[in-house]
């Protein structure tokens, strides 16, 4: 955190001054470790073993926050008899189809829940065959394309839908209640296992376990912060799940000083998920519809939304979105033009897109402030895709590798590509900087903050708002008068934003007004509960409804911090409804009283008949703790006054996820796809549902392969930003970290003859890169599975362009993906490292091919463009 979010780290330092224990769990010793009380260096890719052992510690010592657990989590829920755990099936859960590598999830359901409600089988693309049957087939076998969709992403604003409510055992004694299942599942996650798998001593583990449990409960809370060190794995989603289980057991969710805080890496990466430029989402975590023979809006909503919890209002959210996009053209009679939404048929994520580029199916590509030629895993694969396009539009502040691959990419040097033979037409359009445009970021804490244009952009530089508005305008003008039905969605699109100034810059405030939404009278809406499913309201992003309440841009609020409370509600605007801590009803006990004076935050004021406190209650303000839903209640009315997790269909935090995940209802430790060791826990070595693409230019190392004997992990440095386009182009930042380097321990340096400040060549089955060597005691060999495991650390900021240059660490990585969200495993893989610079030109290809041969991998001839083997 000190390394990548230094200014956020000031609050950690402040907590430390006030007595908090700071624990840093990371394979490398960073600037965060330097300031932490405890650093836990563990083998990259083993966090589930570590966190699972903490869960086991809490359960086996009875240190869970029992009242919280019974009232607010699904610990008492009773599971079906036919559910089988990884303990029963040697690393698999019930429902796995080894042929399709896909889970059928019916057995993960609660007992008594409505099985016909397609639990976890929200709307999706049937594999083949006739209607009706297809859906059954899809649920039972899961078509190849079906399972490829990143479904879990659509739960960003709440869990998956469930039909019915589970039977509960508040004593937690029932052998099939979640609490007991959890206990059995994690029983073998012991300190000894942590030592064996993670390379963390039992003493150190005990210190962490004691610190966390001592600092949780009524009087105290513990926060977990994570970043892509947890997400960029083939089991990334399950990492976060394990953390969620731990925090829910300890009562650390919805309370001040608690939580699981994603430290997101880019200014508006949260906004890019909320207002998604993601293939599987519509704004506000509404899923993109899948292809079906006859599916109307009601069927889509029925398949996707729960009937209970706030997602029970999904139809209002979708209709309001369609009204925002197609205005008068969207009517009740035409189902609000639900049919105009294009349909998914499986995975259409960024790595799949690259394969489509290689096969020639995808011909045109926009890169908007993104540099995959060095920034995405397996950079070569990315460049080969770029080199096989008809046209490419790159928008950025400065020149980047993704725009110059055709003249100076590594494949030109190796002879794999020739400039004159690359058919891609490339447009480079200069972009405006944040100081040159109005707009809002949604920062890591769900906070929308408005930045105001200070000056106009130079020359031809324009905002991306300008680019897309005018591109849409020109396309619509060119298609005007078209009678082709496929052009109707474009021509009927609401696209009349006012423009300002000599550049005809579209008004960002007008776009924000559309995002916020308006009622039948055209007046801005104040909150999403005003949204209706009858076409009378329009709202572009339902979770942002209220950001322009009363016609005022709340994201631009900037009341100085000294003039408001510590919660600072008048600085920016947090979705939803300006709530700063999600699920904060959990900061009070079931009766609505604070769990303790020390941790009071939101509570029930019986006199006023309202929830009140330091924050906006994340709960219906007037729903009393004693409220019990009448039979047949829908949406939020179906949740009791004691159900804090209002986006969940059962109002509870899920220790066990009965639906919504592709790789299991509970986390299990699987080894990284490329691992130096075997999995001691299960016969199942890796995530059985992960997505791999074994093909030329993307070969994988078998576990324990001695040709690639070392583990490596990639990461960032304070002085640089992501793939470097915004940092290694700046003199002041470049001089601070001027070159690509690798970090190795003195032991590994001795073993391989590496010299401090000398060169090293790091080789994988994909390619080889060279880096300067930093030998440092901060890198530590670990004792794992009876062996010494060395880890190589690689910051990934570099590429051939810019002032500070070097090979890109992402060249080394393969594309292998988490099955839930399609994020690549870039935090744990294997490699070889040797002294000296890498071979140049065709010799580099020979070098890498020789490694592949020795490792027993296919000796691929160098791939060429258009060889198209998806």
């Amino acid at each position: 955190m000190a390394e990548c979010h230094p200014v956020g780290f000031q609050w950690v330092m402040e907590a430390k001054e006030r007595g908090a224990t700071i624990i840093h769990v990371d394979p490398r010793f960073t600037r965060t470790s330097a300031l932490a009380d405890v650093h836990v260096p563990l083998r990259a890719g083993t966090d589930i073993a570590f966190l699972g052992a903490l869960v086991n510690h809490v359960l086996s010592t009875g240190k869970d926050f029992r009242e919280y657990v019974v009232a607010y989590t699904n610990a008492p829920a009773i599971l079906r008899q036919d559910f089988a755990d990884t303990e029963d099936l040697d690393g698999l859960f019930s429902g796995f189809d080894p042929e399709s590598h896909h889970y059928e999830t019916t057995t993960w359901m609660y007992e008594g829940a409505d099985a016909s409600a397609a639990a976890g089988a929200r709307d999706r693309w049937p594999a083949s065959g006739g209607e009706g049957e297809q859906d059954v087939a899809a649920r039972q076998h899961g078509g190849r394309e079906l399972r490829d969709t990143a479904r879990a992403e659509s739960y960003g604003a709440g869990g998956a839908a469930l039909g019915g409510k589970p039977a509960l055992d508040p004593t937690l004694q029932h052998p099939r209640c979640v609490y007991q299942v959890l206990k059995r599942h994690f029983a073998r996650y012991t300190p000894e296992l942590v030592e064996d798998v993670c390379g963390v001593s039992r003493e150190l583990f005990a210190r962490v376990a004691d610190a966390i449990t001592a600092n949780s409960g009524r009087e105290r809370t513990t926060a977990l912060c994570y970043s892509v060190g947890w997400t960029q794995h083939t089991v990334g989603v399950q990492y976060i799940r394990t953390a969620s289980i731990l925090q829910a057991l300890l009562g650390n969710i919805g309370r001040p000083g608690g939580g699981i805080l994603a430290l997101r890496g880019h200014a508006s990466i949260q906004g890019s998920t909320d207002v998604p430029t993601l293939f599987d989402l519509l704004p506000g975590y509404i899923p993109m519809p899948h292809a079906h023979q006859h599916q109307d809006l009601d069927a889509f909503v029925a398949a996707d939304a729960g009937t209970t919890g706030f997602w029970g209002n999904m139809r209002a959210y979708v209709v309001s979105l369609l009204k925002a996009w197609w205005g008068e053209a969207a009517t009740q009679e035409n189902d609000y033009r639900f049919d105009w939404l294009p349909r998914l048929t499986g995975d259409h994520g960024t790595y799949r897109t690259v394969l489509n580029q290689l096969s020639g199916e995808c011909k045109g590509y926009f890169l908007v402030g993104e540099n995959p030629a060095v920034g995405s895993a397996n950079a070569k694969l990315q460049r080969l895709g770029l080199a096989n396009l008809d046209w490419l539009v790159v928008r950025d502040l400065r020149m980047i590798e993704s725009a110059t691959f055709w003249k100076d990419g590594p494949e030109i040097e190796t002879g794999e590509l020739r400039t004159e033979e690359i058919p891609t037409e490339v447009f480079f359009l200069p972009a405006a900087a944040h100081t040159e445009k109005d707009g809002s970021f949604t920062n890591t804490q769900r906070l929308l903050q408005w930045h105001h244009a200070a000056i106009t952009p130079p020359g031809d530089a324009r905002s991306d708002l300008w680019f897309y508005y005018h591109l849409g305008r020109i396309i619509r003008e060119k298609l005007a008068g078209s009678t082709d039905p496929r052009d109707r969605p474009l021509l009927d699109l609401t696209w009349d934003y006012p423009t300002e100034g000599p550049l005809a810059e579209p008004s960002a405030d007008a776009v924000l007004a559309e995002i916020n939404g308006h009622g039948p009278d055209g007046q801005p809406l104040s909150t999403s509960t005003q949204l209706r499913d009858d076409g009378s309201t329009a709202c572009g992003v339902w979770i942002y409804c209220g950001v322009r309440a009363h016609g005022h841009n709340q994201a631009a609020n900037r009341r100085p911090r000294h003039e408001q409370s510590r919660v600072a509600p008048d600085w920016g605007w947090a979705w939803p409804a300006n709530r700063r801590i999600l699920y904060n009803r959990a900061s009070a006990d079931p009766d609505g009283r604070p769990w303790s004076e020390r941790k009071r935050y939101v509570w029930w004021d019986a006199e006023q008949g309202r929830w009140t406190g330091d924050d906006v209650p994340d709960f219906e303000a007037d729903k009393p703790p004693g409220y019990r839903p009448p039979p047949g209640a829908k949406a939020q009315d179906a949740l009791a006054g004691t159900d804090p997790f209002i986006m969940q269909s059962d109002g509870r935090a899920w220790l066990f996820a009965p639906a919504g995940l592709a790789d299991g209802p509970l986390p299990a430790h699987y080894e990284p796809y490329e691992s130096p060791v075997d999995n001691p826990l299960y016969g199942q070595q890796t995530n059985p549902a992960l997505q791999a693409h074994d093909r030329p230019a993307n070969r994988y190392h078998p576990a324990g392969n001695q040709v690639y004997p070392y583990a490596f992990t990639t990461y960032r440095l304070t002085e640089h930003h992501t793939a470097g386009a915004m940092s290694r182009t700046l003199p002041y930042l470049s001089e601070l970290q001027p070159e690509f380097f690798c970090e190795v321990s003195p032991e590994l340096a001795a073993e391989r003859g590496l010299e401090h400040l000398g060169w090293a060549t790091i080789t994988t089955a994909r390619t080889a890169v060279e880096a300067r060597v930093l030998v440092t005691d901060r890198m530590k060999p670990l004792r794992v599975r009876g062996r010494t495991i060395h880890q190589v650390g690689l910051p990934y900021h570099w590429g051939p362009e810019g002032l500070s240059t070097g090979d890109a660490a992402n060249e080394l990585l393969s594309v292998v993906l988490d099955p839930n969200v399609r994020i690549q495993e870039s935090k744990a893989a294997t490699c070889d490292i040797r002294p000296d610079r890498r071979p140049r030109g065709p010799a580099l290809l020979a070098h890498v091919a020789a490694y592949r041969r020795r490792a027993g991998l296919p000796d691929d001839t160098p791939p060429t463009t258009g060889e198209g083997r998806p």
Partner: protein, 188 residues
């Protein structure tokens, strides 16, 4: 300037007549020093902004003089950052005003070995034509007999420094075009 003032301005005179006998302080002040002032004081306006690097969301104040950014620094009013910035945030002025920024449209025709400059409006027109053409050529009304109304011929990958309003227009336009391979750093 009168003679008296002129003489008063002499460092040696000041040194001999003032309290700074060794000429190391008040007597040694130069004209440049007397004229010195913080350039933030001369700004025509100060614009509130947010750091574009990581997602912490540090407040920034952008100082503008003669339509140029002259300084960017932390906003002490911010309850998030309290006026502080990391090295990247502190380098924001170099990000927006420093060397290397490109301000003209560049075009590389298929198979060409170098860039050509083209006007922005022409580029926009060419890109619109290519979108229309590729969309037409790759359009799918159905996929294996099921309606899909889409194109797999066009894809997009955005960075996560895009504003919400930009992401919104992107998703809206692409969806109306039937393009579904719309992705963002948020998945990476």
């Amino acid at each position: 300037m009168g003679l008296r003032q002129w003489i008063d301005g002499w460092p040696v005179y000041r040194q001999l007549t003032g309290d700074d006998a060794l000429g190391r302080g008040s007597a040694a002040r130069s004209r440049g020093t007397e004229r010195l002032s913080a350039r933030t004081e001369q700004a025509d306006r100060v614009v509130r902004s947010v750091c574009p690097y990581c997602a912490v969301g540090c407040g920034q104040k952008v100082y503008v003089k003669d339509e140029k950014v002259t300084q960017i620094e932390g906003d002490p009013d911010s309850p998030i950052s309290r006026g502080r910035l990391c090295p990247k945030g502190a380098a924001s002025k170099q990000l927006v005003t420093g060397p290397g920024r490109i301000s003209t449209v560049l075009h590389r025709p298929a198979h060409a070995t170098g860039w050509e400059r083209i006007p922005l409006d022409r580029a926009m027109d060419m890109i619109a034509d290519r979108v229309i053409r590729t969309r037409r050529e790759s359009w799918q009304d159905t996929h294996r007999g099921v309606p899909v109304r889409r194109t797999l011929g066009i894809a997009s990958l955005g960075g996560a420094t895009l504003d919400n309003e930009e992401n919104y227009l992107m998703k809206k336009l692409y969806t109306a075009l039937g393009a579904i391979q719309i992705e963002n750093q948020a998945r990476i």
